[in-house]
């Protein structure tokens, strides 16, 4: 009896310290294929939702590169914002259903450092298409915004976000 207990403890300790375990266990082939396929179809559905949204609101957008779409509403002359500059923006973030998630108050624009700060990666990309005084609608798919999980506050899982954004000013990083 005692030998059995000792053996069990030995097995438990021996199996616990598995240092060579990979961080992410590899899924078996068919499951991995299925999850790739599901992600692919989720992205396809999201693209279609965005197309329908554009049509409903009459936006004609251009692609900025990695999945973000932009429709300029106010376009004044000037140099576009660049990486590593502070951008001061007014914004209203909406979801595809028209709900407003976040917005800056009048007279209280917010700033972020382009390319560095913890805002949606699609925003870093989109703002570089604007010069001070410009205003645009940015449609950012979930994989460039808050992704699979949302932000556990106002933005639900797998949500496209729509930024109504105006670039008030830019200033160089000191």
């Amino acid at each position: 009896m005692r030998s059995i207990v000792i053996t069990l403890i030995a097995v438990a300790i021996g199996c616990g310290g598995d240092a060579a375990r990979p961080d992410r266990p590899a899924l078996p082939g068919d499951q991995r294929d299925r999850s790739i396929e599901e992600n692919r179809s989720a992205i396809r559905l999201e693209e279609r939702d965005i197309d329908l949204y554009e049509r409903r609101y009459g936006y004609t957008t251009t692609a900025t590169g990695r999945g973000v779409r932009i429709a300029m509403v106010r376009d004044v002359d000037g140099a576009n914002a660049r990486n590593d500059q502070w951008a001061t923006i007014n914004y209203r973030v909406e979801l595809l259903n028209g709900d407003t998630a976040y917005a800056t108050g009048p007279g209280k624009p917010e700033s972020f450092l382009i390319g560095m700060d913890d805002v949606e990666s699609g925003l870093h990309e989109g703002v570089q298409f604007l010069s001070p005084g410009d205003s645009a609608v940015l449609i950012i798919p979930s994989y460039r915004a808050h992704g699979l999980l949302g932000d556990s506050d106002k933005i639900p899982m797998r949500s496209t976000v729509i930024y109504h954004i105006g670039l008030v000013k830019v200033s160089d990083r000191r």
């Binding site: 251009t62 692609a63 999945g67």
Partner: protein
């Protein structure tokens, strides 16, 4: 009797020409072959500044088409033109569909947002579903301007407010927005019958081009508040919101400014305007009952 190897050169030529990988392909760059499957009816060749809706499927030569990477989404043409795709895009129009065989190193994997890269020869199935040019976007805006002037105007006003630091307030339910600064010399509002002197600058909302300026006209404008047809409606509202000594900025929608007719050569029909107004002096009239 001819030598049995007499036809060998011919056979060799046949074998080379019918190489199953590249038969029917046309060489478009030193290491790249392309075959057109469908010719679309578009005539525009995508250039930098355009967006294209692409369907792309990529696979190694010996695996089934699209088994490595496949997607359909909008790309900016300027980004795509690196590597081999520039040469491909130069030969394609809207609706075209083609296969391309090229070394994996010539494909801009990062732009396509592929997770990993393929080495060796790859086969690319490439179709251009839609092209959107800058001209088309301007045309769409112009169309909205004529078909939905109110929606267009609201867009323009919202965009102006967003791109501006001012602490804007909305006047009631209207689209008039204002932002008032300065300390009042007199806290009571302007009443009917008061003689009011204002200095103002009128600008187009779109590019802040000045079309009316009391200073340039010589002197501030004086009128009796309450008299009709002295000012546009938006400026009357501005005067009623200001106190003597204050100045403010007013975004005025076209129905409170120059309406559907506009102002010859300066303000187009249904165009909102912005005024900077200063209430210089108020001479109180006889107190109305």
């Amino acid at each position: 009797m001819r030598h049995p190897w007499y036809h060998l050169p011919l056979y060799a030529l046949l074998v080379v020409a019918c190489d199953p990988a590249t038969s029917g392909f046309k060489r478009i760059a030193e290491d790249t072959d392309m075959q057109l499957h469908v010719i679309g009816d578009g005539e525009h060749i995508p250039v930098a500044g355009d967006s294209v809706l692409l369907r792309v499927r990529i696979a190694a030569l010996d695996s089934p088409p699209g088994s490595f990477f496949s997607t359909e989404r909008w790309y900016a043409v300027a980004d795509l033109r690196s590597g081999v795709l520039g040469a491909v895009l130069d030969r394609s129009h809207e609706g075209d569909s083609m296969s391309v065989i090229t070394p994996g190193s010539r494909i801009p994997w990062e732009t396509m947002s592929a997770r990993s890269e393929l080495q060796g020869s790859v086969r690319l199935e490439f179709s251009i579903r839609e092209i959107r040019t800058k001209e088309m976007i301007h045309a769409a805006r112009a169309l909205k301007r004529t078909t939905d002037p109110e929606g267009f105007q609201r867009d323009v006003i919202t965009a102006y407010l967003l791109s501006n630091e001012g602490n804007w307030e909305r006047w009631g339910n209207s689209d008039l927005h204002h932002h008032i600064e300065g300390d009042p010399l007199d806290t009571s509002r302007v009443r009917h019958g008061d003689v009011v002197t204002i200095a103002y600058v009128g600008m187009r909302l779109e590019d802040e081009q000045v079309f009316d300026d009391t200073e340039r006209n010589g002197e501030p404008f004086t009128f009796r508040y309450g008299d009709t047809d002295q000012l546009i409606r938006g400026l009357e509202v501005a005067v009623s919101l200001l106190r003597e000594g204050q100045h403010g900025t007013f975004v005025i929608p076209s129905e409170m400014a120059f309406g559907a007719r506009g102002l010859a050569d300066v303000v187009t029909p249904n165009e909102p305007v912005v005024y900077r107004v200063e209430l210089v002096r108020v001479v109180r009239g006889p107190a109305a009952g």
